[in-house]
């Protein structure tokens, strides 16, 4: 029994059916961690992208080194670092928050590149034309560059959303009860790992197929010429 839901070990099928609601509770935690981690990655990544684009090297260079560091070190170690080190500095977060923060920080390094690439992909001629039309730098960015960059940014971000979802099982090491952890607990108690772990694999496959279908749909639907902000 887990979360007050009993399981039925009379047959394989009955067992699979009886643990499905338990796994779905875990899946809900997985989704929450994915969404929170993704949100942190989007916001922090934007900060990195802005810092890396700063005109002085004093700002852009450290930002580039930090993002490289975040990208090149394992999420697992970053997670342990935050989990054990933050409390030493008096920052005590619930395990779920620490996990989402670790996910968000690691992926902020990736999203910052997406922002940068999306903005740099706007053709030079667009900047020159804005200049010829006497638009201010600010207006050029908000009315010309951003509307054209956004359709390039969104599908790439969607792919990272899927990646984050696949990294959520790591949070189980800091006691977060996401889907894989729930499946392991069921396995530990019933000595049957095959059914719960296979079901987790299947549920993941369904989730990623839906998510990548959504990304492809967005990619096809987004106007390539740009999205007006007003």
């Amino acid at each position: 029994m887990l979360f007050g839901i009993p399981w039925d070990t009379s047959s394989n099928l009955a067992f699979a059916v009886s643990i499905l609601p338990i796994l779905l509770i875990g899946l809900w935690v997985t989704i929450q961690a994915t969404v929170l981690g993704f949100f942190i990655a989007l916001v922090v990544g934007l900060v990195w992208a802005a810092l890396k684009a700063a005109p002085t090297r004093v700002i852009s260079w450290p930002a580039a080194v930090i993002t490289e560091f975040l990208r090149d070190t394992p999420l697992l170690i970053q997670l342990f670092f935050l989990y054990y080190v933050l409390p030493e500095f008096g920052i005590i977060l619930p395990a779920f928050m620490t996990g989402a923060l670790a996910l968000g920080l690691q992926y902020s390094a990736y999203t910052s590149e997406v922002y940068r690439a999306g903005i740099e992909a706007v053709p030079r001629g667009q900047h020159e034309a804005s200049r010829a039309l006497n638009l201010t730098g600010r207006r050029t960015f908000t009315h010309i560059v951003l509307p054209q960059a956004i359709p390039r940014i969104i599908p790439a971000m969607g792919n990272y959303l899927v990646s984050i979802m696949k990294d959520v099982p790591l949070l189980s090491v800091v006691t977060v009860l996401e889907m894989l952890n729930v499946a392991r607990i069921i396995g530990d108690r019933t000595f049957n790992y095959l059914i719960p772990l296979t079901m987790v694999g299947g549920l993941y496959l369904i989730m990623t197929l839906i998510a990548s279908g959504g990304v492809r749909f967005l990619d096809r639907r987004l106007p390539k010429t740009g999205i007006p902000l007003k």
Binding site: T73, P74, Y84, G187, G201, T208, L209
Partner: protein, 223 residues
């Protein structure tokens, strides 16, 4: 405890991490080419097998795959009367390379399909067999195109090796966790571990750059 005393055990762990990275990158590269070429094949059976493999291993989480191979596969084996208990090293390398191979396969497929159509037509006109076209015409042009993506995947693989510590392989992540339990000095130990992984990643990036230069050496005015 002084930080220098952590160096020795962490270094031992780093060696295991390096070994795992080498084995799984090589096996992963072989799987990438097998499945990537398989997906471009005309034979529908080969195509479906390759596509299914790629979809399953890209669509699920690496940790789920690792736990499945380590915890669930023996149970499945028992049901069939075969002993499928894998030692942690085998389960770890297998999970890592199957996972990275599926990502690599998409890179290989993309690069092969990006070789211009004229090249295939010219090969046909010169009476090349399909096999010869692949080996002599398509791959030499496609491989340099794959290298930047392969570089990223190699780094990804290095980072992913940390997960095998969860099935009790004594790699760098495992040693760091062990030291922390022993000394409670989390800040120093995990900072050192992070920098060691970062150092390994920089070395790996440099090696992939060299490999990229080697496979594109035939290009006129090579990069």
């Amino acid at each position: 405890m002084d930080w220098t005393q952590y160096l020795n055990p962490l270094m031992q762990g780093a060696l295991v991490t390096i070994e795992l990275t080498i084995y799984s990158t090589i096996l992963g590269a072989i799987l990438s080419f097998a499945a990537g070429i398989g997906k471009t094949a005309r034979n529908p059976v080969i195509k479906v097998i390759a596509a299914t493999y790629i979809e399953i291993f890209r669509g699920t989480s690496l940790l789920v795959q690792l736990f499945w191979l380590y915890f669930a596969l023996p149970v499945a084996g028992q049901a069939m009367g075969i002993d499928l208990r894998l030692p942690p090293v085998v389960a770890g390398v297998l999970a890592l390379s199957l996972n990275i191979g599926a990502y690599g396969a998409e890179v290989v497929r993309g690069a092969i399909q990006a070789v211009s159509k004229d090249q295939y037509e010219a090969a046909k006109a010169l009476n090349f067999t399909p096999r010869k076209t692949l080996w002599r015409i398509a791959l030499p042009q496609a491989i340099p195109e794959m290298m930047p993506a392969f570089g990223n995947l190699a780094i990804q693989n290095l980072k992913d090796t940390a997960l095998v510590s969860l099935i009790s392989l004594s790699d760098l992540a495992f040693r760091a966790e062990q030291l922390r339990n022993f000394t409670q000095d989390s800040t120093t130990i995990y900072t050192m571990a992070l920098f060691m992984y970062f150092g390994l990643a920089l070395v790996l990036t440099a090696m992939m750059k060299l490999l990229e230069r080697y496979v594109s050496r035939w290009r006129v005015g090579a990069r």
